[in-house]
């Protein structure tokens, strides 16, 4: 039976680190692989922070599931059409890259020149988190799903 953690929070950047710590401590109770715990906690932080920064308000739903060695993290929130299009573009660029490493390094170089934002969160989840990342759009709702494995 998969183990699940479900959390609904209001969109507040002050809560992102709180949520990360909670998820990390919960995962530490369930997994021996502390590297996987760290990767998953990082992904929780990045995805929830993105939802708080770029969502259009309303609740942010976090779902963390452990089934065997597989760790799934899903964050669902509401987003404007503009924000959804920006997210689609980010995923399209990620899919076109030769590798998560190449994509991440390109974004790091770009981040040095950007005046606002970093654009790094999703790429960090993919590369540093060693996760497959995908988004689903349903009306004004966006769900970002990241999956990885513990050893």
């Amino acid at each position: 039976m998969p183990r699940q953690l479900n959390l609904t929070i209001w969109p507040d950047l002050n809560l992102v680190s709180v949520v990360r710590r909670f998820a990390e401590e919960a995962l530490e109770k369930a997994l021996d692989d502390l590297d996987a715990v760290s990767r998953a906690a990082m992904a929780v932080h990045e995805l929830v922070e993105n939802a708080a920064k770029y969502g259009s308000g309303g609740a942010i739903d976090l779902h963390v599931e452990l089934e065997g060695a597989e760790i799934t993290i899903e964050v669902t929130n509401r987003a404007t059409p503009e924000a959804q299009n920006a997210l689609r573009a980010a995923f399209a660029e990620m899919e076109m890259a030769d590798s998560p490493l190449d994509h991440y390094q390109a974004l790091l170089r770009r981040a040095a020149r950007r005046t606002t934002g970093s654009g790094l969160g999703l790429a960090r989840v993919a590369f540093e988190g060693e996760m497959s990342v995908a988004a689903r759009f349903d009306g004004d709702a966006v769900r970002v799903r990241a999956v990885t494995r513990a050893s």
């Binding site: 950047l13 680190s17 990767r39 932080h45 922070e49 790091l108 970093s118």
Partner: protein
Amino acid sequence: MTIAPIELPALTASARLADDAIWVTLAGTADAHAQSALAAFLCDLHASATAGKIGAVEIDVRDLIFMSSSCMKPLVTWLASIDAAEDGEGRYSVCFLSNPRLHWQRRSLQALSCFAAELVSIQQ
């Protein structure tokens, strides 16, 4: 040397000059709230290192529990500034003193070091 410290509830940063190097300590959590403060701190740091013709910056992150991508941006901008400088004009080595128990540091600092591989090193 004037580098105003960061004294946020979640993040602190300080710098001191010793032996032709600037020693920086970052501690706590560097998330979206700290982005502006970290950017200003690193800007002051680079200006001071350049003016003082400093040879090295040692940055102790052993107590930096987590850093989000929001704060990786100012770090990346800072490293890019160093890498773009000419010798003797704001170009100095950077050494991160890291904590092996904080797994995220190994991955993130390695990625950052790729920015200026000749200048950046990581110690545990």
